[in-house]
Amino acid sequence: DTAVSQTPKYLVTQMGNDKSIKCEQNLGHDTMYWYKQDSKKFLKIMFSYNNKELIINETVPNRFSPKSPDKAHLNLHINSLELGDSAVYFCASSRVHFSGNTIYFGEGSWLTVV
């Protein structure tokens, strides 16, 4: 059983389109995250949710909108996609909001905007 699963794994889309990436965790964790990893492998946090409540929103354009219908799911919707949005997006979870506890990552969603 995959602990943190995200779909789709690969996404190629045109500029201006709107797309969503879904994430689910079956670990019973309270906290979920979205990270963006750029072409230089820098892993930067975008959002975190704790029990469906937004905790961290790290200067991400408002074209990115996370939605947490319940604490096991955190989806990422992106409007008006731009070339610079091309990256690998990782969903992750931890038992409680990060203060040194383990973060479990999904396998990543490779987004290419053309």
Partner: protein, 113 residues
């Protein structure tokens, strides 16, 4: 400004060699973590160090937390091709009442057979 500086950025070595990767900061961290990310996958936790001066061993990997809790190192003895991957250090950075899990830029290691 990058809170966690990792060095070297790239490392290409032969099987059997030893190596050390560094993670440095001007900030004090309550704990630091090391993750390894293999191509096409998400990062996986290797270890968490909590106490200043702490040393933890994981088979051929030795992790050390600096006395002042501002830096950490990862030493690999007799590297093997299976050690190839991106090594990331991570720490909790306090901001606005929350802790933000912050990652260094990573060290990309290639071990040639």
């Amino acid at each position: 400004t990058q809170l966690l500086e990792q060095s070297p950025q790239f490392l290409s070595i032969q099987e059997g060699e030893n190596l050390t990767v560094y993670c440095n900061s001007s900030s004090v961290f309550s704990s630091l973590q090391w993750y390894r990310q293999e191509p096409g996958e998400g990062p996986v936790l290797l270890v968490t160090v909590v106490t200043g001066g702490e040393v933890k061993k994981l088979k051929r990997l030795t992790f050390q937390f600096g006395d002042a809790r501002k830096d950490s190192s990862l030493h690999i003895t007799a590297a093997q091709p299976g050690d190839t991957g991106l090594y990331l250090c991570a720490g909790a950075h306090a901001s606005g009442g929350s802790y933000i899990p912050t990652f260094g830029r990573g060290t990309s290691l290639i071990v040639h057979p």
